[in-house]
C-alpha cells in the first residue's frame, strides 16, 4: 500500500442476488446470504463492522418501516452506528463512505433490499412526484421516460433482490483480500419540475463527473443504472469520458430490483476492479423521475 492510500477507503466485499417477485422470501431472508457472502469475501466478521447503512422502500414492500424487519440480516447486536434511508442503496454507500472518512469506524456494511408487493412495482414510483400537482395525475415512469426518449426504448424488468458492500479503511482490512479503492463518490440533484429540465441532458451527472475529474479521462468499466434503455446514452454523454467497456455485467434491463439496482452497479464495478479486469471503474446510480438524482462512484485498483 502506498502512502497515498493510507487514508483511502476500499470495497473489500461485494455481493448481490436477484429473485422473482413473490417467491415467498422476506427482506431478511433475501438479504442475509448476500451479507454473509460480502463479509466472507472481506475476511471480516459481523463484529468488525462499526457502521451499517441500509436502504429500501416501504412503498415497494407495502409495509411501513421495512428496515425493522430486515434487522435480522445485518449486524445489529450489540448496537452500533446505523442509518437507514428510503432510496437506492448507492446513496447509503455514500453515507457509509462519509462516516468512515469522518473516522466513525474502520469498516462499514452497506445493504439494500427490494421485495416489491405489487405486480407492477414501477407504478409505486408515481409517489416520488410532486404530491400536489403531478402525483395525482399518476403518470407511469414509462410515460415520463417517453418524454425523455427520442425514439423507441426498452424498459427494465423489475424483480426482487438484495445487495451488500463492505467498505474498509486500511486498518479495517483483512490482509491479502482484493480491494477496489473508492477514489471518490459524488452525487447531485437536478430540479424536480420536468418542464424546467432539458431531459436529453443530465446536468447532475455532468457536475458529479466534473467533481470527480472524469471528463477527458479513460474509464475501463462503466456500469450505468438506466431503467430505460435510452437513459444509458444520456449518462455516458454527460460523463464526458472515454469508456472502454460499457455495462459488461449486462446492465440492469434484465433484472431491476428497484432501490437495489444502483448498489448492484457498485458491486459489479468494484468486482471488475477486484478481479483485475479494470484499473479504473465507475458505477452510476439514479433515483427519481427521468434521472433526477444521480450518483457516481469512482473505483480504482489498490
Amino acid at each position: 500500500m502506498t502512502e497515498d492510500d493510507a487514508g483511502a477507503i476500499a470495497v473489500v466485499g461485494a455481493a448481490h442476488a436477484v429473485a422473482p417477485i413473490g417467491d415467498g422470501r422476506n427482506d431478511a431472508e433475501l438479504l442475509a446470504p448476500v451479507v454473509d457472502r460480502a463479509l466472507t469475501e472481506a475476511g471480516l466478521g459481523r463484529d468488525d463492522v462499526g457502521v451499517v447503512c441500509t436502504a429500501g422502500s416501504e412503498f415497494l414492500n407495502g409495509q411501513v418501516g421495512t428496515v425493522m424487519g430486515a434487522f435480522d440480516a445485518f449486524p445489529g447486536w450489540p448496537p452500533r452506528t446505523h442509518a437507514h434511508l428510503e432510496g437506492d442503496g448507492a446513496f447509503a454507500l455514500h453515507e457509509a463512505w462519509i462516516r468512515l472518512l469522518a473516522g466513525e469506524a474502520e469498516a462499514a456494511l452497506v445493504c439494500a433490499y427490494s421485495r416489491p408487493l405489487a405486480d407492477e412495482p414501477r407504478r409505486v414510483l408515481d409517489l416520488q412526484l410532486d404530491p400536489y400537482v403531478v402525483a395525482p395525475l399518476a403518470p407511469r415512469p414509462e410515460d415520463l421516460a417517453g418524454l425523455q426518449a427520442t425514439g423507441p426504448f426498452t424498459a427494465s424488468q423489475p424483480c426482487a433482490g438484495a445487495a451488500a458492500v463492505v467498505l474498509a479503511a486500511a486498518a479495517g482490512r483483512a490482509p491479502g483480500r482484493p480491494a477496489a479503492v473508492v477514489a471518490g463518490i459524488e452525487q447531485r440533484l437536478d430540479t424536480h419540475d420536468l418542464g424546467e429540465r432539458d431531459l436529453a441532458t443530465s446536468p447532475s451527472v455532468a457536475a458529479a463527473a466534473a467533481a470527480l475529474g472524469l471528463p477527458g479521462t479513460v474509464i475501463d468499466v462503466l456500469e450505468v443504472h438506466a431503467p430505460f434503455s435510452h437513459q444509458r446514452r444520456i449518462v455516458v454523454d454527460a460523463l464526458g469520458a472515454e469508456v472502454r467497456a460499457l455495462d459488461p455485467s449486462g446492465g440492469c434491463l434484465a433484472a431491476d430490483p428497484i432501490m437495489v439496482t444502483g448498489l448492484i452497479r457498485v458491486v459489479e464495478a468494484a468486482n471488475a476492479v477486484r478481479r483485475g479486469e479494470a484499473a479504473r471503474a465507475v458505477a452510476h446510480a439514479t433515483n427519481g423521475p427521468c434521472l433526477q438524482h444521480n450518483l457516481l462512484c469512482l473505483l480504482e485498483a489498490a
Partner: protein, 406 residues
C-alpha cells in the same frame, strides 16, 4: 485526531480521498430555525413548511442558499404523507438543486439522525457548510399508517404508537415502583414550559395537575393530557466546519454526536431501557469528555412523546440512576428551576411533528448554550444534550453542544 478544516466549499470538494487524512473536523451549529407548529399548517405545502424552517436557519446564520454545500433531509415514515423520497420533489424548495443531498429515515429518530449525519459530513472534511432540515405534516397524512408494521415471523401487529408506549410505561412502573402521579407531574412541567415557547403548538395555561389526572385514559397508564399532539412542523440547522464558522455570529459547538440502533425484536432488546440508548449516551459523553453527565450538563432536551416516558429516558441516557428517574421528576429536579432542567421548550408535549421532533430537540439544545432560547432560557447554560429516539425504542441519536469550542 483532527483533520484540516475545509476553508471553503470549492476547496472542500476538491479534496481527493486518496491522501486525505481521516478524522474529525470540528463542527459548529451556526444557524437554527423552526416553524410555528400547528395541528394543521394549511397555509403551506410540505415543501413550503420545510423551506420555512430552512430560511429561518439560514437567516439566523447570516448565510444565503449559495453558502450551502450539502443538504440533509430527515423525515419518517414516508408513508405518513404518502410521499416517496421527498428530497426529490422538495429539491427546489430546499435549495438542493445541483447539490449533494442526503436522506435520513429512522422514524421518530429521523431528525436526530439527520443532525448526526450532518455532523459526519462536516467532520469528514468534505463539506464546509451543511443544511439539515426535518419536517412532518401529519395533517396531510395518516399517522395510522404506522400500524402497517409487520415483523417477520411475528403475528401481524395492529397497535398504534400509543399502545406501544402504554406497554413501555406500564413496564417501567412495574420495575421502578413509580407512583401513579408521576405522569401527571411530568406532563404539567412540560405543558407549563411550553407556555414560554412561542413556537409551541399546545399552550394551555388552564391545565392543572387535577385536570391531567382526570383526563381520559388512552393507553394505560397514558392519559390524554400525558400525550403529545399531532403536529405539522419543521426544523433546520446549519452546520459549519471550524474555519467556515469563523464569520458566523454566535455558534454553538458540537462536542459529541452519535447514533445507535439495535434490532427491534431481538431477545436482548429491552424496550424500556434499550442498550442502543445507553451506548449512544456513553459515546457522546466520551466524545465530549463528560464523566458525570447529570452534574456537568446544564440542560437536556429529550424525546418524550408521552410524559410517562421522561423517567425511563432519564435513566437510559445516564441522567438518573436505574429506578430513580421518577424521583427526579417528583422532586422537581427536571423542572425549569431544577438542578437539571429537562425540556424547557415544553418538549414533544408542546408539538410533535414526528420526523422533525428529534431535530427540534437538537436545535433547542443549541439555542440554550447560545443563550438564545428566550423565555425558556436556562441561565448560564454552557453544555446541553439533545436526544431523539424512534421505532420500538431501537433507534437513538444524541448530540452534546457547548458554548465553548471543544
Amino acid at each position: 485526531m483532527t483533520g484540516p478544516a475545509a476553508p471553503a466549499a470549492d476547496a472542500a470538494r476538491a479534496l481527493t480521498p486518496r491522501g486525505t487524512p481521516r478524522g474529525r473536523t470540528r463542527c459548529a451549529v451556526v444557524g437554527v430555525g423552526q416553524t410555528r407548529h400547528a395541528a394543521a399548517r394549511s397555509d403551506v405545502t410540505m415543501a413550503g413548511l420545510a423551506r420555512e424552517a430552512a430560511l429561518a436557519a439560514l437567516a439566523d446564520a447570516g448565510l444565503g442558499w449559495d453558502a450551502v454545500d450539502a443538504v440533509v433531509l430527515g423525515t419518517a415514515p414516508d408513508t405518513i404523507e404518502g410521499v416517496m423520497s421527498p428530497e426529490l420533489s422538495m429539491a427546489p424548495a430546499l435549495g438542493a438543486v445541483g447539490k449533494p443531498t442526503f436522506r435520513a429515515y429512522t422514524s421518530g429518530n429521523a431528525g436526530g439522525q439527520a443532525a448526526t449525519l450532518g455532523v459526519g459530513l462536516v467532520a469528514s472534511g468534505r463539506f464546509a457548510r451543511v443544511l439539515v432540515v426535518a419536517y412532518e405534516k401529519q395533517s396531510e397524512g395518516r399517522t395510522g399508517a404506522v400500524t402497517l408494521q409487520h415483523l417477520p415471523f411475528e403475528a401481524p401487529w395492529q397497535g398504534g404508537t400509543g399502545s406501544l408506549y402504554g406497554a413501555l410505561c406500564s413496564d417501567y412502573i412495574a420495575r421502578s415502583g413509580a407512583p401513579p402521579h408521576i405522569g401527571d407531574v411530568a406532563a404539567l412541567k412540560d405543558r407549563r414550559n411550553a407556555l414560554r415557547n412561542p413556537f409551541a403548538q399546545v399552550r394551555r395555561a388552564d391545565v392543572t395537575l387535577e385536570a391531567i389526572a382526570a383526563s381520559r385514559m388512552l393507553w394505560s397508564p397514558i392519559r390524554l393530557l400525558h400525550a403529545s399532539p399531532s403536529s405539522d412542523g419543521a426544523c433546520a440547522v446549519v452546520l459549519a466546519a471550524e474555519d467556515a464558522a469563523a464569520g458566523c455570529p454566535d455558534p454553538a459547538w458540537v462536542h459529541g454526536a452519535a447514533t445507535r440502533s439495535e434490532p427491534p425484536v431481538a431477545p436482548a432488546h429491552d424496550f424500556v431501557d434499550p442498550r442502543c440508548g445507553r451506548d449512544c449516551a456513553a459515546a457522546v459523553y466520551r466524545q465530549a469528555g463528560i464523566t458525570d453527565p447529570r452534574r456537568e450538563l446544564d440542560v437536556a432536551e429529550l424525546f418524550v412523546p408521552f410524559s410517562w416516558v421522561e423517567p425511563p429516558t432519564l435513566e437510559n441516557v445516564g441522567l438518573a440512576e436505574p429506578g430513580e428517574g421518577w424521583r427526579l421528576v417528583d422532586d422537581g429536579a427536571t423542572a425549569l428551576d431544577g438542578a437539571l432542567p429537562v425540556n424547557p421548550s415544553g418538549g414533544l408535549l408542546g408539538a410533535n411533528p414526528i420526523g422533525a421532533a428529534g431535530l427540534v430537540r437538537f436545535a433547542e439544545a443549541a439555542l440554550q448554550v447560545r443563550g438564545a432560547a428566550g423565555e425558556h432560557q436556562i441561565d448560564g447554560a454552557r453544555l446541553a444534550v439533545g436526544h431523539a429516539q424512534g421505532g420500538f425504542s431501537n433507534f437513538v441519536a444524541m448530540w452534546v453542544v457547548g458554548r465553548d469550542k471543544p
